[in-house]
Amino acid sequence: MSHTITLTVPGDISYTRVASSSASQAAELFLLSIDKLEKKTEFCHAFELAISEAFANAVNNANDLTEPQPITIQFIRKGSTLTATVSDRNKPFSIETPMPDISTYPENGFGLMLIRNVMDCVSYSRKDNTNTIRMSKTAS
C-alpha cells in the first residue's frame, strides 16, 4: 500500500521548523506502520535534518525579483522505503557540491552534503521550471 502526504509551505525561512518537524513526525508514523522502531531516533532525525536542509536550500534559491513561491513537500511511503521530495519554482541548483574545507571555518556549503550523508538515495531533477530534490531512505 502506498500512502502520500503532501504539504505546501510558504517559501519563507521562518517556516523551516514546520517543514522539518513534519518530516520527523511523518518518519515516525511510517516506522510505526511497518513496526521497525529499533533505529527510530536515527531514522527520524535523518528526515528532520534532510528536510530542514532541502527547505532552506529551496528558499535561499529564490529569485529575488518575484514574490516568494510556495514550496511543496511530499512524503511517499512504499514498502519499507520512505521518500521525501521538496519542490520549488526557483533557480536551478546542483546537488553535487564539494565538501568545504573545515579548517577555513566555512559558514555554509554543508547542506547538501548532510542530506547525502543521512539519506540512502538523493536525486535532483528540473522540469517545467520546477526543482525537485528527491530523497529516500529504507528502514532496516
Binding site: I13, Y15, R17, S52, I102, N108, F110
Partner: protein
C-alpha cells in the same frame, strides 16, 4: 530559540534552547555576547536539533572570536547535534565538554595562566 546568559568563573556562559536552524540562526548574531570578542562557553544541552545553518552560525561565532584571540567552547552535544559535527568534521574546530561549568572553569584557568 531562547538564549540565556550567565557567568561562571568570570566566563560568559550562553545556554541555547530549541532548534537551531535557518529560521533561528540569525538570532544568534543579534546576541551581544555571542557576536562579541570575549571568550564564551556555549551550552547546547537544550538544543535538540541543529542543521547546517545552525552549524554555520556557530562556526561564524568561533571564527570571529578566534580572530580576536578568544575561545569558543561547546558543551553538551546530544546525539543528533553531534552527528552534524561528525559528518561535517566541525568537531575539529571546537573544544567540546560534557559539562558547561567545567568548560568555563578550564577556560578561566587558561586565561589567567596567560
Amino acid at each position: 530559540m531562547t538564549i540565556t546568559e550567565t557567568t561562571h568563573s568570570n566566563i560568559h556562559l550562553v545556554a541555547l534552547k530549541g532548534a537551531l536552524d535557518a529560521s533561528t540562526a540569525a538570532t544568534l548574531a543579534k546576541n551581544s555576547v555571542l557576536s562579541g570578542n570575549l571568550p564564551t562557553v556555549i551550552d547546547l544541552s537544550g538544543v535538540d536539533f541543529l542543521d547546517s545553518s545552525g552549524l554555520g552560525a556557530l562556526v561564524g561565532i568561533a571564527r570571529k572570536k578566534r580572530a580576536a584571540n578568544s575561545d569558543t567552547l561547546l558543551a553538551c552535544l546530544n546525539t543528533n547535534v553531534r552527528k552534524v559535527f561528525e559528518i561535517t568534521h566541525a568537531y575539529r574546530l571546537f573544544d567540546i565538554y560534557d559539562d558547561p561549568y567545567t568548560a568555563a572553569e578550564e577556560l578561566s584557568k587558561k586565561i589567567s595562566a596567560l
